[in-house]
Symmetry: C4
Subunit: 262 residues, 4 copies
């Protein structure tokens, strides 16, 4: 059996998504690549996580041609293989419909970098792709999904701010991979410095150098997406309602306080 | 004992609702229909889920007349049987007060189709019924609840946009049942293409071809209702607060950045 | 040992609050009353729920004088006993700082009756008390908390709408207790028809005819508080952003659709 | 081995954070100080919580010099030791990226004191630091984080309301530590009366007299942060939508009611 060790890692990465609550039923898949052999190991489609065994994993080449395995690979295979071909530094890809990251994707918004939890893993906002066109959707949809991700990393959408690609001090982002030097491939965003993307109207993809790291990044992505949701809704409300906060504060403190300790 | 296999399926469908957290105490019920015999199997009313056994299920005809069983059937029986009579393609019905779908029902709003998780199961918005009239509430309330659902599928409420009933490309919705061809019964919305409805001021009903599928659809309905809630609140705030997002972004990036890596 | 059966019921009621996630650490307490003997059984203060045994329960008279027990009773005892004296039809009281009901209490807002889940248990909004005055807080605080609750049921706050006390058709509320007839004690809100109140800036109290029912009502109160929070925030946003919903809808449907199936 | 008892307490405090869901992966750390010996016991960096044993704890002096232990201490050590040096009354420090407290930190807002759950532990708002400057971030970042916290307790930020430091009646706050007398060290906020701070764009720190108390305070901080989030968002919406609440109310009650019991 080919790639026994990578099969086990990819399986474990799939199970980590389940343990962390990122996956409902069979929504989600993980894969890994062996760069030397040019082979991809990916979860089969629609098998219950409880039943998954290393031997169920499907092995394909970098164009998605099945090399070993009797089961059909994940229906998102073509997105995975495109990412492996276009992002030469990554070693594993994870796709989920995790709740908060998907909500940002459905809103069509980048997840802003609002704190150090985010910055520890992602050097800048998590980009959201442009919506797919009618032609892309009617065409090779899964492949087009990968293209939309790649476009977002090669260049920013028109009208948007350019993202810092060459940081001078990578203290925080180092743990995410540390590949902070100017990218020779001409990426606007280094895929290892921002190891995730959300697809507009769809859901997140995350990646890393190993299956373990890709799953870990997907879990942290969901965590920062959740806190970003709360930060943005909180701040918008608090902006509207500073007078409300003041009213509460003075209700409890000072000469006219009507609450709590006198 | 009649319909042993269907009893087991209906029981399992009820238990799936509990396992997935859709049910508090005894809020919720599932049923299935045997079309050949014209018999319905439904959960008894108010029995703890821990104690439910196949022999507790109640068997009725399509008008709700009890054919076998000593326990009282679910108090929502008349909604279930009406749906079986009016939607000839469905084989099972599930009712819950699951948190997010019920919140949309209480808000009196259709759950908009905001992403592929939704589109994988529901071909268009999950419709919300019109509020019941005083007469309907004072009358045959449970039956009227079913009528409100059926009206919503037979025609859209006045002033609303007509929904696509005859899609040309059913890639995504196929997994929901695939009955995408023009509906000979004259439905505005095909009940198998959109296998759920939320009742205004009440809660969701979902259905499918089998008890397993109906429960599965109810679970996914709750999941998409949750993500739709977050998408709508996020997007409304973000629209209000684009300047806020900008301020955060520039606080962290560019010449005037005051946050994170220099 | 006095009241062995009631001790067991009160203990079980306390544990139900923990099982349902309504209690953090030792926040929360339940009690029951024996009307014939005029004795109250209440949880002791600050004992871990894991260690609670029936013999730890404290027995007091209706004025809070300890009759049996070596442990100090819950610090909220005076609120419980006041409710027993003022609401002659109730048999048990529960207090928690459950998350959503407390958030409504902190907001100082009644929990509106937005759906049938609410109406199945509470015949009208869950009232929120007026804020306590400086004098009340500096005075007999726990007793004053009870008075604020009782005032809310005896009369509505000035300027507010009077609540229906004499419903003609109690179909839904029947399961909450059913005492729908005109209240001879002159309550504006019948305590058994609306078996809960939230104390402004504090948290909820719930009650019922038995300890089991009081805990059950507290659990449902938290559930309806949660759904009311989401309904109100959703509807406010959706009102702001109907154009947003429309944009989404038309992005996915009709001639100019750019999403999903063509 | 030095400080066996304190090691066990610090370990237990770290594990309590995990049990209460405040920690994802290895985000979070707790420490304790032995004031007589001037020694700090702190969690090692990046060790899985499942594998943590008392002997893994690292012992340092009050300047962070390692006295005993083979593992690297938590990377936040310099914040912990600074707090021990500057806040002489505290005996333990806890740091987490717990979801709601971190969301408030990311929003850059104090957590307002909105109810008695808060007041039982924190005598006034949980202060949020000023954002760190470029120089602080590029400099001794972890130390600067501690300085930002200390500055917030020594004096309020310009333009803000002064906080009550000398309450006359400490009924509620007593359980948080009770050190309510005028602080001889000249703090604007007594660190034992408000035993937590959130660092802008980062996350919370909490403390107490013992490791047990510090972890307990961190858990309650997250709980009150969660309820404050909901209170503020609810109240802002409800302010916007009082007419909405009215509409619901009258839909269900009075002569024109269209909902529920007639």
């Amino acid at each position: 059996m080919l790639l026994e060790s990578l099969r086990a890692e990819v399986l474990e990465s799939n199970l980590e998504l389940v343990r962390r609550g990122l996956v409902l039923y069979t929504f989600g898949n993980a894969s890994g690549v062996d760069r030397e052999q040019g082979l991809v190991v990916i979860k089969p489609s629609g098998v219950d996580y409880d039943d998954l065994r290393p031997e169920h994993m499907v092995v394909t080449d970098l164009n998605g041609k099945i090399v070993e395995g009797n089961l059909r690979p994940s229906s998102d295979l073509d997105t995975h293989t495109l990412l492996y071909r276009e992002f030469p530094t990554i070693g594993a890809v994870v796709h989920t419909h995790s709740e908060y990251a998907t909500s940002w994707a459905q809103a069509g918004l980048d997840i802003p970098a609002l704190g150090t939890t985010h910055a520890d893993y992602f050097y800048g906002p998590i980009p959201c792709t442009e919506p797919l066109t009618d032609e892309a959707i009617a065409g090779d949809y899964v492949h087009e999904t990968g293209l939309a991700i790649v476009r977002r990393f090669r260049a920013n959408p028109s009208g948007s701010t350019s993202q810092a690609a060459v940081p001078g001090d990578a203290t925080h982002a180092a743990s995410a991979g540390g590949r902070m030097s100017p990218d020779p491939s001409g990426f606007a965003i280094d895929p290892l410095a921002v190891p995730a993307c959300i697809v507009a109207g769809h859901a997140p993809f995350a990646w890393g150098r190993t299956p373990h790291e890709a799953a870990h990044n997907a879990v942290v992505l969901e965590y920062v997406a959740k806190m970003a949701y709360r930060t943005v809704t909180l701040q918008a409300e608090a902006g509207v309602s500073q007078s409300l906060l003041d009213r509460h504060y003075f209700r409890k403190h000072g000469a006219k306080a009507t609450y709590g300790q006198k």
